[in-house]
């Protein structure tokens, strides 16, 4: 029988040294920002019931979830997302807590990706959920400015935060006399910016102002000019209101000092039954997919019997870590300051001396060799600049 005891499962990997340092650096920076804004950390279970992620607006595809059963034969999945468990938590144990709730998380999510395409099945995500709030505009603004700040920490010059509003698409598509299947097809083609196929499909639906507007929708991305274009293409009271508010948010973010790094895409139309308002995505130049995703989801908590608005975002920590490693922004792997070697009979004293140095803030390695010469050679190979020999007295050798 073939044994799989030397490799890790497809889509997973061991993280060593500098990879770990980069990841922790990202996690710590993000946690620092989140805590600074008064967010408290929560941890949800790695496994949850399958039902949590299926039905209503929570349609995770079953083929993409890792599944197992519990002792009663109930279907369990490895958490594919953190927002939904947190919505559950906020609607149960925190149901009567004073609003708003400011929660953050830093945990792995699991997705069974198609094999051999170079995507991870296990990724660490860090993010916030801002639940409740009398004035949801203020909440949107808080979440967006935190998203921008988070990205700017890792690549201030070259990050990109892109905002949109799911309402623009929803309002337009609701005016079409087509069934849900066609609506979904239109949505998919817009999200893939598949201009030719979208045109063909909408030509079949009919030629009017709405189909014309939907045809333009995937092209409505870029800078401030998008608002004008969008208003030219279609106007009614609701859409004008949506565009007005979005433009206000856009301008405010620019005023925060993020000029040139904030853009608009009205063609962000993923998870349309989940998001209810503003949606946003973040990009870094060295990562081929978005590293940050977020938006307003005012219906999700209601599905858990706790009707309450919410906004949040999640950041793919692994992707950000890879980015800072590539652009040289990750902290360096630190070698020890000294090797401490105890002569025969002074083994315990050597460890005690090492402890003293550690307390003083140095990084030291305790030598496991039998001679000072071997210890010295070891220190030289590892690039450690000092050898400390503990015997009757303590000798320090600069290498």
């Amino acid at each position: 029988m073939k044994r799989y005891d030397l490799i890790t499962p497809e889509g997973t990997r061991d993280l060593l040294f500098s990879d770990c340092i980069a990841r922790r650096a990202v996690e710590e920076k993000l946690a620092g920002i989140f805590k600074g804004f008064g967010y408290s950390e929560v941890v949800t279970p790695g496994i949850e019931f399958f039902d949590l992620f299926s039905g209503s607006s929570r349609n995770f595809r079953q083929e993409n979830m890792y599944k197992l059963t519990d002792s009663k034969g109930r279907l369990i999945v490895l958490r594919p997302d953190s927002t939904i468990p947190i919505a559950r938590l906020a609607s149960t144990r925190l149901k009567y807590a004073k609003l708003p709730l400011r929660l953050y998380y830093n945990q792995s999510v699991y997705q069974n990706n198609s094999l051999l395409k170079g995507h991870s099945d296990e990724t660490v995500q860090s993010g916030i959920e801002l639940i409740g709030g009398v004035n949801t505009k203020r909440a949107d603004y808080e979440a967006l400015s935190m998203a921008a700040q988070s990205l700017s920490e890792f690549d201030n010059e070259n990050f990109r935060l892109e905002i949109g509003h799911i309402g623009y698409f929803k309002e337009l598509v609701a005016k079409l006399d087509v069934d849900e299947g066609v609506q979904e097809e239109i949505r998919f083609l817009i999200s893939a910016k598949n201009y030719p196929a979208l045109n063909d499909l909408l030509d079949k639906v009919g030629s009017n102002q709405v189909t014309n507007a939907l045809k333009q929708l995937p092209r409505l991305f870029g800078g401030v000019e998008v608002f004008e274009k969008a208003a030219e293409i279609y106007t009614d009271d609701k859409i004008t209101g949506i565009l007005y508010n979005l433009k206000e948010v856009y301008n405010r973010l620019l005023n925060l000092g993020y000029e040139g790094r904030i853009s608009v895409d009205l063609g962000i139309v993923s998870h349309t039954d989940y998001y209810t308002g503003i949606v946003f995505k973040g990009y870094l130049s060295e990562v081929g997919q978005s590293v940050l995703k977020g938006g307003r989801y005012d219906k999700l908590l209601g599905e858990f019997g706790n009707d309450c608005p919410a906004v949040g975002f999640g950041i793919n920590v692994d992707d950000v870590a890879r980015h800072i490693e590539k652009i040289g922004g990750a902290p360096r792997l630190k070698t020890a300051d000294a090797v401490v070697y105890g002569e025969k009979g002074y083994v315990v004293e050597a460890v005690a001396y090492a402890q003293k140095l550690v307390r003083e803030g140095l990084t030291v390695e305790n030598s496991l060799f039998n001679t000072a010469e071997e210890s010295e050679e070891y220190a030289r190979t590892k690039g450690i600049k000092k050898l400390i020999i503990v015997g009757e007295d303590v000798k320090e050798l600069e290498l």
Partner: protein, 209 residues
């Protein structure tokens, strides 16, 4: 100057057609035409860099963002799927997917589960799923037409251009599945971070079509 836009071309016929298109736009593609064994080639006056790859790899490279743009057949896109923007139909490389079987055989007759040979198992699965029909799919790497002749399969799902190969081997098209042609795809992040360069490139391409 900015780093060049990297464009991945599917080796073979699509590559020739795309190079033709680039030349029509006015780019100097000498380096690509005289490529030898090189796989990454400059198109200096367009600030482009051409990468030559197999169809499936074009999608992988674009999806990961190591190439900004790709030219690949709709057949490969349907089979591989993936996340990227599909901006235009280039119009060349036209053919179609079809279901074919031995001439005179009644493919939909009888109650036995049909066996289908194909190079495109995902497309085949989706097609028969949409019909609510259970089939057994056998993946074949080379000439798929052989499978029904050797009686391994009842039918095949494959790309048909003229239908000559089918005819010469005593097969006929039962039904067309979907038309196919070359597409221009773009990485989702490149599209946003290099919007102007990509949009003006796409504009040039669309004008030259």
């Amino acid at each position: 100057m900015n780093k060049p836009l990297r464009i991945a071309l599917t080796k073979g016929r699509l590559e020739k057609d795309t190079v033709g298109l680039l030349e029509k736009i006015g780019y100097d593609c000498t380096a690509v035409r005289e490529k030898g064994r090189k796989l990454i080639l400059p198109v200096p006056d367009g600030n482009l860099e051409v990468v030559l790859a197999k169809a499936n790899d074009v999608i992988t490279y674009v999806e990961h963002g190591v190439c900004d743009i790709g030219v690949v057949g709709k057949d490969t896109i349907m089979e591989m799927q993936g996340k990227f923007f599909e901006l235009c139909d280039l119009g060349f490389g036209r053919c179609r997917f079809a279901l074919a079987a031995k001439k005179g055989s009644k493919f939909y007759g009888g109650y036995n589960v049909k066996t289908i040979a194909t190079k495109y198992p995902n497309i085949t699965r989706n097609y028969f799923e949409s019909k609510g029909m259970d089939v057994e799919i056998v993946k074949i790497e080379g000439s798929v037409e052989l499978a029904p002749l050797l009686e391994l399969a009842d039918g095949i799902v494959d790309i048909v251009e003229t239908g000559t190969t089918l005819k010469e081997n005593g097969l006929e098209v039962i039904e067309d599945i979907v038309p196919v042609s070359a597409r221009l795809i773009v990485n989702m992040v490149s599209m946003k971070l290099r919007q102007q360069e990509i949009e003006s490139f796409v504009e040039l391409v669309e004008k030259a079509l």
